[in-house]
Every structure is written in C-alpha cells, then in structure tokens.
C-alpha cells in the first residue's frame, strides 16, 4: 500500500485539514470576515461529504470513490493489526459528523460578519470534525483515543472562544478538567488492555482471547481485561454523557456559545457512541466463554456481564436525564438534559449488540444530529432575536415568529418521538430491535418508551410556553447571574464590531436556511426513511460480522 493510495483513502480528512489550514492562512492574511472563512469551511465540509458519499458507494457520485470497495467491510489480513479500517458503518458515521459540522458551519455564517474569532472558530470546527472522522475509521484503541483527543482539545477551546464571556470560560474550564480526567482514565484502561493482549488492535481485543485463555488457566488475564474495560467505560462515558459522567455536559452546553453547543451536542458527542461500538461491541458479541467470576460467582462470561452493565447505564442515563429535564428553567439546560437522556436510548443499541439494535442506535444518532443541532441552532437564532435564555422567555414566540416556532416545535416533537418525524422512525427501529432481541431487552424497550413518554412532558411544556402563553410585555425574568445579555456567539461586546441587522428580521439567511434544512430532513426522512435505513441496516450487519 503506497503512501499515495493511503493518503487517497483519507481524502475527505485531508480536505478538512487543508480547509482548516486555509482558514488559518486566510485569517493570518487579514481576510477574517465570517463570510469568507465560513464559506471555506462549508465548501470544505461539503466536498468531504461528497467524497464520503462516494466511498459509501452512492450511485450518483460513486465515480469519485477513493477507497476501493474491496477494502470496506472486509476482515483484515490474518496476523495484521491495522490501526484504522474502513467499515461502511464508520463511513455512515462520518457522514453524520460531517452533516453536524455542516449545519453548525452554515448557521454560524449568520453571525456578525466582523467577529474576531471567526477564523479560529471555523478552523477548530474543521479540526474537530477531522478528529471525528478519524474516530469513525479507527481499528486501534490508541488511535481511537488520540482521535478523540483531536476532537476534545479543539472542543475545549471552542467553548472558550468568545474569550470575554465568563460563562463560556467557566464552561471551558469544567469541560477541560473533566475531559482531562476522562482522558487519564481511558488511557489507563487502555494500558491494562495492552497489558492483557500485548496489542491495542480492536480486532484482537474484540476476540476476547485474553479472557478465554483465563478460563483455561493459561496466560489469560480476565481481571486485567475487566478492569481495563471498566476504566474505558468511565473514560468514554464522559464523551457520550452517561449518568453519572454527565454533569459537565449540562454546564458546558449551557455556558458555551449556542452554535458551539449545537456542535457539541449534535456532533462531537456522537463519537463517544461510535467509540462504544468499536470498543465494547466485540466483547459483547464474542466474550461469551464462561469462567469463574471474581468472588466465586459463576461460571459466567464477560459479554453478558457487559450487556447488563450497559443496560443499567442506559436505563439510569435516560431516566435521570429525563427527570432532571422536567423542571429546568433554562432552555439550553433542558436541551442538555434531553441530550443526556437520548444518549441512554442510543446506548441500548450497544447493550443489545445485535445488528437491528445497531441499526436503531445509528439511526438515532443520525436523527439526533439533526434534531439536537437544529434545536440548539434555533436557540441561537432566538438569542439573536433577543429572546432570553429561560424557557419562560419564549412566551408567545409562536405568534411573533410562526415559522421559527414551527421549526422548533417540529424538532421538539421529533425529539419526543412523535410520528412523521425522523425521531419517531429512529426510536421505532431502536425499540423494535430491543423487542426483537427478546429476553430482558424487552424491558429496555419498555424503559425507553416510558422515558420517552416522560420526555413528552417537558417538550410539551416548551410547546405550551411557545404557543399557549401570551407574549410577555417585557422580559419578566432577569438573566441569571453571570450571564451576558444574550448568551450567544452573536452577542455584541467589545470584541465584536456591531453590524447591521441581519436579513429575515434578524435571523440571517444562513441560519434560516440551516433551520429549514433540518426541518425538511426531519420530515422527509420521517415519512420516507427507506433510502437511509436500508444501507444503514446493511452497514450495521457488516459491522456486526466484523466483530468490531
């Protein structure tokens, strides 16, 4: 495999890197208008998306494919321990990540045109996206963890990029500390796995051989593996905000600039789920050899134990997320908790570990990219219109801003899993898969569905505020302590040159277009999900077969 072909395989990633460098270059040259850097980023992302589509084999663009079809979804040669490997599910996730980046990049172009941090913002977005794409092709634990760092480090900085906002900075600080702790735990766990297997290749890890040997009494290290995986769960759970590793997320989504919140919740969070696929699906599927458990219980095997653990985490996460979302007063915190509970649903897919479940979880990720980014982007747009951070500040928006409110309502209904939205389809597939798996997984489906019913309560409450409450005469509730007048990236401050009001009554074309795209996707794929669902199901099937 020559260097050129290797690089060609990574054409989309290289494009993103080039785009990031170009953005920094343009910034250095002084062309730091947001239209310029934003366009570069958007175009880059779209190009990358095009190539990923080509690699996935979508007929209209298949001729652009850089990765030979024979290299996707096949087993690596015997004895080799590749660091990265192409799977169609990974490529699908790449498209999801790119879509999330695209939405945020496009919407952010409606921010004040002379904003200082624009170049850094877009550069970091592109770099983080690059990292996300790398996560999706990892086949080595360390590769995976460093790729996650490629995402994390820009994320910390993105949260802080407004520089002048104490809330953002506080969020960045929290994000950084918890993130760094998680990094430490992940690597520490990885070191144990390395110690047990002698390699960090995920194909090898997936085989569960180190555990299997342990049963025979020769050379296996069950405890090392088990403790290692436990540490990894703790480390990666930080990323997908499982309870109780979630506490940072609420503050960060709340404190971060709205566009960044959209990117974090809709985008970077999802790498954690794919990491879970990569790291834990193998043990779930293959570590089925029974051995005597610590403390004399058994014989049981690691796979089912892991399934139970993940199931417990999933149920706890969705329940706690939903319950906490119930009484939130701040819109972004409510969305943050809802995002946490959604992570619980997605985790069901890993816990079950069947192809249908994987399909459902992936689809849920896809849906969530749109729903959650979209929701945060609407919040950003609303902040730009002078709507305060509290849910109560949205009173009567349905009358003042019918289209924006309708889009937001659509997103919330989709989050709640109402029919004719993509959120419904994804939940339907996911919970169908849980019931299809039978056994105690049915109770996972029940828990998930009851939770989604509970979630209706707080989504409904927001709809109530938007549509049923009459508009407030004046902002009745003062902003919470430490909040800037409008906690958004578009906030006017000394750092930002005031600019003329945006088009569409302050919304801006780009942001309006983004929200429209989200709404259309939610509805169209809610009505006709076949074109997405069928290849995704096939990809999940391949992924399971590979045992990654």
């Amino acid at each position: 495999m020559s260097l050129v072909t290797t690089l060609l395989d990574f054409l989309p990633e290289i494009l993103l890197l080039a785009g990031a460098l170009l953005v920094f270059l343009v910034d250095a040259l002084g062309l730091r208008r947001i239209e310029v850097v934003g366009s570069i980023a958007v175009v880059t992302i779209l190009l990358a998306l095009l190539f990923v589509f080509a690699d996935l084999g979508f007929a209209p663009v298949a001729f652009l494919a850089a990765i030979p079809p024979g290299q996707i979804d096949v087993f690596p040669p015997a004895g080799s321990t590749p660091l990265y490997w192409f799977t169609s599910l990974g490529l699908f996730f790449q498209t999801f990540f790119l879509l999330a980046a695209f939405l945020v990049a496009l919407a952010s172009m409606s921010r004040p045109s002379r904003e200082r941090g624009a170049a850094v913002f877009y550069g970091l977005i592109l770099l983080a996206t690059l990292g996300m794409m790398l996560v999706a092709v990892a086949s080595d634990l360390i590769f995976l963890l460093i790729a996650i760092e490629v995402v994390s480090i820009p994320s910390y900085l993105l949260v802080a990029y407004t520089r002048r906002d104490t809330r953002s900075m506080e969020a960045a600080m929290k994000f950084f500390i918890v993130g760094a702790l998680s990094t430490v735990l992940s690597f520490f766990g990885a070191s144990f796995l390395y110690g047990a297997y002698g390699t960090t290749n995920l194909f090898v890890l997936a085989s569960g051989s180190a555990i299997a040997n342990g049963a025979a009494g020769g050379g296996g290290f069950p405890l090392l593996v088990v403790i290692g995986y436990s540490l990894l769960i703790a480390g990666l759970a930080f990323k997908i905000t499982l309870v109780p590793f979630h506490a940072w997320a609420v503050d960060v989504y709340d404190g971060a600039p709205d566009d960044v919140s959209a990117f974090l919740a809709g985008g970077t969070k999802k790498i954690g789920l794919f990491a879970f696929f990569l790291v834990f699906l193998g043990p779930v599927l293959f570590a089925k050899v029974a051995f005597q458990w610590f403390g004399g219980i058994g014989p049981v095997s690691f796979g089912p134990v892991l399934q139970v653990l993940l199931s417990i985490l999933a149920v706890v996460t969705m329940s706690v997320g939903n319950v906490l979302a119930l009484m939130q007063k701040s819109m972004k915190r409510m969305l943050a908790y809802s995002s946490i509970s959604q992570a619980g649903y997605m985790l069901i897919g890993v816990a079950i570990g069947t192809a249908p479940a994987l399909t459902g979880a992936s689809l849920q990720v896809f849906a969530h990219v749109f729903m959650k980014s979209g929701a945060f982007l609407v919040v950003a747009a609303a902040a730009g219109l002078g709507v305060g951070p509290l849910i109560a500040d949205w009173r009567g928006l349905g009358q003042k801003r019918p289209w924006l409110s309708a889009a937001f309502a659509l997103m919330l209904l989709s989050l709640a899993g109402m029919p004719l939205t993509v959120g419904f389809v994804s939940k339907f597939v996911l919970f169908s898969a849980a019931i299809e798996a039978q056994g105690y997984f049915v109770w996972l489906a029940v828990a998930g569905l009851l939770n989604s019913a509970l979630s209706v309560f707080y989504y409904g409450r927001v709809l109530k505020v938007i549509y049923f409450d009459s508009p407030a005469a004046a902002p009745a509730v003062p902003a919470p302590e430490g909040a800037s007048p409008a906690a958004s990236g578009a906030a006017a401050g000394p750092d930002h040159t005031p600019t003329a009001p945006l088009a569409l009554g302050g919304l801006g074309y780009a942001r309006a277009a983004t929200i429209a795209i989200v709404a259309i996707v939610i509805v169209v794929l809610g009505i006709y999900p076949g074109p997405l669902l069928q290849p995704l199901a096939a990809a999940a099937q391949h992924f399971i077969r590979l045992g990654l």
Binding site: L185, L309, I312
Partner: protein, 672 residues
C-alpha cells in the same frame, strides 16, 4: 283478498299520519298560526288516522281470520358460521288482530276527540306548535305500541310514548313544579322500563334457545309466534317467573301501579287535555296492554299471576283511599285512574286478559270524559281547587251532564260502561277464588274500592257542580259553558261512556273480545273464555257491587251534597289520616329522599374519590416526578470538583457492577 283484509296492509298508515303531522308542525312551527298553530292540522291527521283505524277495526270484526302481519327488517345480521347459527334480526311490523283492533278504536277515538277539544281548551296558551307536534307524535307512538308485532317494537314505541308524556307533562316548563313532575314521571317509568327490557332479554333467550331459527327469521319477538312455543318445553320456569315479574315492573311503571305510582298524580301538571289522553285513556293503559300481551302470548307462571293480582288489587284501594281526600279536581281523577288501572291489572293477573282489556276500553272512554269535563270546569273557573268551586251545574249544563255520565260510569252503575267491565272483573276474580284462595284479600280490596270509587267521584261532583254557587267569591260567577269544539268531544265521549258496555252485546263488536272464536292467529286454546260474563252469570255479585256503589254515592251526597260538611273534619285522628293520605303515605317523600339525598350523596362521594383519589394519584405522579427533579437538580453544584467526584463515583459503581452485581444477575438469569 277481500277489501277488509287488504286494508290491513295499510295499517302502518295509522301511526304514520300523526307522524306526518308531527313532522309538518315541527318543521313549520309558528308559521302555522292561522291553523290554530297547527292544531287543525293535528286534528285533520288524527281524524284520518281515526277513520283508517275504525275501518281496520271493522275489517277485523267482519273478516274471518284477518290476522295480518306486515314486516320490515330493521336490524339484521345475516347468517354466518358462528354466533347466531341462522343470523339475527330485529323487525318492525304491524300486526292487526282483534286486540290491536280494539286498541285502535280506543286510541284513535280518544286521540281525535282530545285533539279537537284542545283547539278550544289550549287556545290561550303559547307554544302551541310544540304542543300539537308532540301530541301528534304521542299518537304515533301509542299507535305504534298498539300495532307492534313484536316485543322490541313494542318497547321502542313504549319508550317514545314515555318521552312524549315527559314533554307534555312539562309543557308549562317555566313552572318548576311542572318541570319537576316531568322529570319524576320520566325517571319512575324508566325504572319500570329497564326492568321490562331485562324481561325482554329473558324471553328472547328462552325462545331463541328453544328454537334458534327464531333469531334468523326475525320472528323473534313476534307475538303470534310466541304462542307457538310450547311452554314448559326447554323453558326454565324460574326464568319465566322472573321474566314475568320484570314485565310486571314495566307495566307497573307505565300504568302507575304500586309502588311506581307516585308520578301519575304529579303528572297533572300538564294540560288537562294531556291528562285526558295520555294519563287516563291511552298511555297509562299501555302497561295493562303489555300485561295482556304477556298473559296471552308470553305466558305467566302462577307466581307471576299472584304478583300481578297483588299489585293490581292493592293498587285499587291504595289509590282510591288517597283520592278521597284530595281537593285538586285533576288529582282526584288521577288517583282514580291509578285505582282503575289496578282493576285492570288485577283482572289480567287473575287470568282474564280480555276482561282487563274490556275495562281498559270502557275506562278510556269515561275517564277521558271525566278529564275533559274537569278541563272544561278549569277552563271556566281557572282554578283546580274543589273547595273554590260549586254550583256550576247551572252555568255549565253540558259539562255537568258529561261529568255525571262519567261519574256513573266510573262508579259502576248500570247500564253505564263502567258497570259492565268492573262487574266483569269482580265476578271473574271471584270465579278464581276457589282454585286460588290466595286471591281473597285482593278481591276484597277491589270490592271495597267500589264503594270508595263511588264516594270520591261523587264528592267531586257535589263539590263542583252542586251546592252553593261558590265559596270563593268571584271565581264561578263568570263561569260559562265552553265552546263547541270542547262540547262536542265531551258529548261524544259521554255517549260512549253510556253505551260502551252495551256495544259488546253487538255480535261483530263482541268478536274483538273473543279472539279464539275468530282468529287463526291464536291457534292454541287461550286460558279463559272471553267474555265470561255475558250474559251476567252471577247476579248476586253484581247486585253487591251495585249496592256498594250506590252506598258510596249516598255517603258522598250525605257528606257533601247537602252541604253538611263545609270543610274537612277536625278531629286529631281524622287530621292525621287526612295528612297521611295527602302526603300519599309518605312514599313520595321516601322517593325524593332516595333520589335527592341517597343517590346524590353517593354521586358526590364518588366525585370526591374521583378527584382526589384517582386523579390525585395521577397528580401525585406528576408531583413526585417534579419533586425528584427539583431535588436532583441540587447535585448540579456548579463546582467542577464535584463533577469529577461523580465521575470517580461512577467508575467505582462500574467496578461494583461489573465485578459483583452483573455476574450475580447473569448467573441468576441463566448465564450467557
């Protein structure tokens, strides 16, 4: 097919004509003000109905074997592999047989004359289109009951009759007492109706299980076919008894028999015409008609018969006693109606259905007459209080004559109609006493009632028409005779009251009372010879009852006729007695308590449970979730060290789960 038989094909027109009147008057409403607000239309259509009804009845008298049943499928489930083997259907149809022919005569005749009378009597009221429309609808419904060829249709129109009664009692709805009386009437009869419905179900089940093809053919509730069913074959006698009791309950509700009798006196809140037509002649007789049908075609066991006799016999004296003290002219007549209905029920129960029917027929005539005459009086003096009337005979000759004719008929003085029928009942029941000694008390009650009847009706007569001009100045001085539209009906009915009993001696007419002789519709031998008492078989009994009646009249004359009693007796037992009777033995109060306090308290308590226990649980869920949420929010302290602590706690939890909890669970669940 001869003319008379082919006429029966058109029997459905008899109820349909008033229905047309209902539709037209209901649709046009006040636009008919030139036609007495639709009154003349109603008269016209009811006249048409009467003519057709009489023709059909005559056909039934003349034509041999004119049992004609015209059917229409109302509700049908075709045969299928399961469920009803042969399908299921409910039918509507008209059955013309001697009994329905007789009822046709009664209903259409009284209906027509009351319609005509209304023109004059109701002239001053408002809301007349409503009155005529509903009165027409009532005629339709009543004729539907009469012509029904199955129990379902019978019940359907029976209910409609009840609703019309409801609206007519509540005609003066702005009066709280009228609205209340209407409600009471509806609900009390409803109690009977639902039990009747239960009875229908039982008959259905019995017959359907005895012969499944019934369900398919739609003959299910057909009277004619019911008689084919050999009683005792595949029929559980207990079930039959219960069904009979339920039927009796239905009849008691409609015919105001004890203990469902309380509504009828209150129903006098309606216009007097309504009282005449509905609450004297027709609707209240429907209950008796139902028992007649039940007796002839559905079959009662001896237990049922005893129950019916008991209810009827007791009701005669129960109501008559209360009639003796009331001062409201209409109420007295209303109690009299209840009492007379008791006679009919008694007869049917004792096994003499046609005798009961005979009394129904004569009673319809003279009771309608009494009401119309009373209405004429009320119309003239604008009060219903007997003690405010007096000496009206001189001013209202026609009315007085009519009332007197009715009173003689009611008292059972020969040759007035009431004599023949009441005497028939008494002698019939007497004839059963040998085999059924348990009928004795009820026979005696009925006998005593003859005396009371004569007493109370002549009390009314003497108070209203005789004596000094008026005890209340200014009331009866301006009284004058009613217009011809009111006089003609009274005279027609007065004539009927005199001759109704004699008519049955005319052979063609008599056939109506003797269905076994002429109609193939009743191939099985009926359990009696109808009428048993023509010519009079037991002259001593007749003499006794006439003597009692005359005695009653004399006592009435002695007390009231010569002004001996200017007011009510004042002694303590008498006052107590009078108060008890006026309060209707406090049964009404008990009912009010059950409805107003008993049931309503249960409803209030249930409402409390619903709001605070059931819904409270739901709200408790909401609140507890909210509370948990509020409390859990506190863990989000904002201090990053705490967040790190959660992470480490989570890690340790993962350790615990992976090392201890999950393996244990997995081994319990049966391993990998």
């Amino acid at each position: 097919m001869n003319f008379w038989v082919s006429l029966d094909q058109w029997a459905f027109l008899v109820p349909l004509l008033p229905a047309l009147a209902f539709v037209i008057i209901g649709a046009l409403g006040e636009r008919l003000s030139k036609l007495e607000h639709g009154g003349w239309l109603a008269v016209l259509f009811s006249a048409g109905s009467m003519v057709l009804g009489f023709l059909i009845a005559i056909g039934e008298m003349l034509g041999p074997g004119t049992y004609v049943d015209v059917r229409y499928t109302w509700f049908s489930i075709p045969p299928s592999s399961t469920g009803f083997r042969d399908g299921f259907s409910l039918v509507m149809g008209t059955l013309v047989d001697p009994i329905s022919a007789l009822m046709l005569i009664v209903v259409t005749l009284v209906g027509f004359v009351v319609m005509l009378y209304s023109i004059g009597y109701m002239h001053r009221d408002t809301g007349l289109p409503r009155y005529y429309a509903i009165l027409s609808l009532f005629l339709t419904a009543m004729l539907g009951v009469v012509l029904a060829d199955n129990l379902l249709m019978f019940f359907l129109f029976w209910e409609l009759v009840g609703v019309c009664s409801y609206f007519l009692i509540g005609f003066y709805y702005a009066k709280p007492s009228a609205a209340s009386a209407a409600k009471e009437a509806f609900i009390v009869t409803r109690v009977g109706d639902v039990l009747f419905l239960a009875g229908i179900f039982i008959y259905f089940a019995m017959y359907a299980s005895a012969d499944p093809s019934w369900a398919a053919s739609g003959f299910l509730f057909t009277k004619g076919n019911a008689a084919f069913l050999p009683l005792g074959q595949g029929v559980n006698p207990t079930l039959l008894t219960i069904a009979g009791i339920f039927l009796l309950a239905g009849a008691a509700g409609k015919s105001a028999q004890f203990p469902l009798d309380a509504w009828l006196p209150d129903a006098m809140e309606g216009p007097t015409t309504v009282s005449a037509l509905i609450h004297a002649a027709t609707m209240v007789a429907a209950g008796v008609y139902l028992l007649v049908i039940g007796s002839l075609f559905l079959g009662f066991t001896s237990t049922d018969q005893l129950a019916i006799v008991a209810v009827g016999g007791f009701t005669t004296i129960w109501a008559a006693s209360m009639a003796c003290v009331h001062t409201d002219i209409k109420r007295v007549i209303a109690y009299s109606t209840v009492s007379q209905l008791g006679y009919m029920v008694l007869a049917v129960g004792a096994g003499f259905a046609m005798v009961g029917l005979f009394h129904l027929y004569t009673h319809a005539m003279f009771k309608a007459l009494l009401f119309l005459a009373a209405g004429s009086v009320i119309h003239a003096v604008t009060t219903q209080d007997l003690f405010k009337m007096g000496g009206l005979r001189k001013k209202m000759r026609y009315t007085a004559f009519a009332f007197l004719a009715g009173a003689f008929a009611l008292s059972g003085i020969p040759p007035f109609g009431g004599f023949w029928s009441k005497d028939d009942i008494l002698s019939s029941v007497y004839s059963q006493l040998g085999t059924h000694p348990e009928y004795w008390p009820f026979y005696l009650m009925a006998l005593a009632t003859v005396f009371l009847t004569a007493y109370y009706i002549f009390r009314v007569y003497f108070l209203a028409f005789e004596g000094p001009s008026s005890r209340e100045p200014g009331l009866s001085e301006h009284a004058h005779e009613s217009p011809w539209v009111m006089r003609v009906p009274m005279l027609v009915l007065a004539g009927m009251a005199i001759v109704a009993g004699l008519l049955v001696f005319i052979p063609p007419f008599a056939t109506l009372f003797n269905p076994t002789l002429t109609s193939p519709a009743f191939p099985v031998a009926l359990p009696l010879n109808v009428p048993p008492s023509y010519p009079l078989v037991d002259i001593e009994l007749s003499a006794l009852s006439v003597a009692l009646a005359v005695g009653g009249i004399l006592v009435a004359w002695w007390l009231w006729g010569n002004g001996r009693l200017a007011s009510m007796p004042r002694s303590a037992p008498a006052r107590w007695m009078r108060e008890t009777l006026l309060q209707r033995y406090y049964v009404k109060a008990a009912y009010d308590w059950i409805g107003g306090v008993g049931v309503y308290s249960i409803a209030r308590a249930s409402d409390f449970v619903d709001r605070f226990v059931i819904d409270g649980t739901v709200r408790g869920f909401e609140r507890s979730f909210a509370g948990i949420s509020q409390r859990m929010r506190k863990i989000q302290t904002g201090v990053v060290s705490d967040y790190a602590a959660y992470v480490i706690t989570g890690l340790i939890a993962v350790f615990v789960i992976v090392l201890f909890v999950a393996p244990w669970l997995v081994s319990r669940l049966g391993g990998g």
